[in-house]
Subunit: 428 residues, 2 copies
């Protein structure tokens, strides 16, 4: 296999002509495929349909502690739901507050509260001249959108195969008291599928922040979202590590069942130290009388416990695995050895992160779109939508069928090739 870089101008131009013909064919097919968002497929949702039956008009709707779940009360969530979400989050139930349906909403709320009221008695961020956040890149666009809307300066931190570049993280966190947080997706990261190494997690737990109100924003979105039963990533539990390191209040951990049961109708939670939870509840009790306890009960009665969750997620994996593999197969076969793109094969999560040649991502995404395949916008994985290399593209294989994914990826690799040839020709 010859790399594109090593090909002559003439070889490249001849190849381009062949590929352009194929691209024209694709344009004629009238494709309408979407690989842009991490949305579960219908088949995955069908697996949770039993949840629609566990509560009905003859069910006892009283939780274990004796409260009628139909009525007001229990700000922090019913005990059995705190236990279930605690198990998913790998923390004791007493470190959990259950919220509504969306962990994204808890993250927004956490930033918003810090902005308006401060963290544990420290100055509200709205009274500070400058607040900064560290943003491992590539990362999750909705994280960046939250910090951006509060005028928080975002500093990109490169990801490594073990997690964020910790030398850089330590340097910023120790020396700049304007740095108030870092967005982390520690397991099966969005979009790369990287799981933080033990050393990375321990270095996070041992941070010595200049700002006393610095926190890790630990988005544990994919904790049980494995693709392979026998190759499950393991990530050290951060609350426990922070406690051991003498930094018990350093972290907010977020989770939800959006991609376990139903997106939009799941249950979300925050896990944190007693001090942090006390601080959160002071505000939460003004925000609401309580979240949806019936939906909490519904989840507990359906999944029962962590075994129930794992069993369920293995059924998800059986649906998701062929989708990932359909994409990976085309990427490997069509791009392997050409030197025009690379990706890390994920063991879990919802995404494949593709790195094209510098300066090609936007053009590839546009070209794919023009032939009917929607990808996440190039740049979306970077703060402010600005990928300095214009190279990263997030592929979301969860929603379409494996057949559609293979077809969409066929087009995608064609676009990668065509755009790469143009880029290389520029410099020949």
């Amino acid at each position: 296999m010859k790399t594109y870089q090593s090909m002559s101008k003439m070889e490249l131009e001849q190849l381009k002509a062949e590929l352009q013909a194929k691209y024209k064919d694709f344009q004629g097919k009238g494709l309408k495929l979407d690989m842009s968002r991490g949305k579960p497929s219908k088949e995955q949702l069908d697996l949770s349909m039993g949840m629609m039956d566990v509560l009905n008009s003859s069910t006892e709707l009283v939780c274990e502690e004796g409260t009628d779940c139909r009525n007001y009360g229990i700000l922090e969530g019913i005990q059995e739901a705190r236990e279930l979400l605690g198990q998913i989050s790998e923390v004791p139930a007493e470190n959990i507050i259950i919220y509504g349906n969306s962990s994204l909403n808890i993250m927004y709320d956490t930033i918003s509260r810090s902005f308006t009221h401060g963290v544990m008695g420290y100055t509200p961020w709205c009274r500070l001249d400058k607040v900064k956040f560290l943003c491992p890149v590539p990362g999750y666009d909705r994280h960046f959108a939250i910090t951006e809307t509060f005028g928080i300066e975002m500093i990109p931190i490169p990801m490594t195969p073990n997690g964020p570049d910790m030398d850089l993280v330590e340097q910023y966190v120790s020396n700049d008291e304007a740095v108030k947080g870092i967005w982390c997706v520690p397991k099966y990261s969005n979009p790369q599928g990287i799981t933080y190494s033990d050393e990375t997690v321990r270095r996070f737990a041992h941070l010595t922040p200049a700002a006393p109100d610095f926190r890790l924003y630990w988005d544990n979105a994919y904790s049980v979202h494995h693709l392979y039963p026998d190759q499950q990533a393991f990530c050290l539990e951060i609350l426990e590590e922070c406690k051991k390191a003498g930094n018990p209040d350093l972290v907010y951990k977020f989770t939800s069942t959006s991609k376990i049961s139903f997106p939009g109708s799941g249950v979300a939670a925050i896990a944190a130290s007693e001090n942090n939870l006390k601080d959160i509840k002071k505000q939460l009790k003004l925000q609401t009388i309580g979240h949806d306890k019936l939906n909490q009960l519904r989840h507990v009665r359906f999944f029962k416990n962590l075994d129930g969750i794992h069993e369920h997620m293995m059924k998800h994996a059986d649906i998701m695995r062929p989708k990932f593999e359909a994409v990976e197969k085309v990427l490997d076969q069509e791009l392997g050895g050409l030197g025009i793109g690379s990706y890390i094969k994920p063991l879990g999560g919802y995404f494949i992160s593709f790195d094209a040649l510098d300066g090609c991502a936007k053009a590839i995404v546009k070209m794919a779109k023009d032939a009917g395949v929607i990808m996440t916008d190039a740049g979306a994985t970077y703060p402010y939508g600005l990928d300095p290399h214009d190279s990263n593209i997030r592929i979301a294989p969860s929603f379409p069928s494996p057949e559609d994914l293979a077809l969409a990826t066929d087009l995608f690799v064609l676009c990668v090739k065509l755009v790469s040839i143009d880029k290389i020709l520029e410099n020949k």
Copy 2:
């Protein structure tokens, strides 16, 4: 019937001794009754149990516009839920955004967003030296708690039988650009059960605020919560009146089904002009991917339409009416003509507002508590918990049985009498 004021010192002291004996009896009874919060009773909740059956594993979970309600999407809520909540709010569906389970949470969120991001492009309140809110009194403690936590100065506005004192409202709103809002419960107000007159609503709609970002915070909590089928209060629809007055953007209207279906598991919504909704959605799309569409669907399939809601609420009324009447009967029989307290008989809503002699409310509530009957804290109906007259007490008859309410009110009137005698004796 002789008023207490007209009794001699000796008569009062003799009466006091008799009442003290009765109070001792009550203390011996070991009562444990709660008239403090507007919480629906079990019987009311039972009326909505059919809602637990409308969705099950064989139900089509697709909304009218064709979206799978189990998956992500539809930020503003499914169309049929916007229609239902629109009917409850008396506005077109396109003026509605559906949120999660709590209108209180929408109100907090609305204030918080104005604080962090401003209203429709105007300066965020966190950048202003001073923000003020008008607070009709007596009013709802949770409203006041929200404005207090954002450091907003609260100005009490006395209620009249037609709504807030509009001369005062107009004066503040026209002349002080720090005044950014007013809390209103226009129908069956909390706690007095007063419904704003047509003139009051029209004067609200015709306000000429000094602040362009002034809004009416119109908490339509009890729009369909009548007590009597044949004596239903009517309140002019404020969005329409604002539009007619050339002030279409003046109002945010809040509603929820918390006290229609299940508190904590209901559906809440905001109604506002197109400009306001656009402004709200700009932020909302960063806060969440969407709210719980299955619960929206559940509500629509159960209640169907406004007729379904009204029919359901008449069953609520049949449960609530005897409770209100049990309290009113004791108040009338035991306090009528004594000159030591008064209340307005409500036609709907969740509360009875009792006005004791000045300087007596705290002592009455404490005395009732000491004999096992919990009332809302005296002062709670005023900003900062400060009732300048120390006279208003909110009675919440919704949760206990009529029998328990009669008993609790027996004790309550005894406390009113005893505390009033002490107060009168002070000045004899």
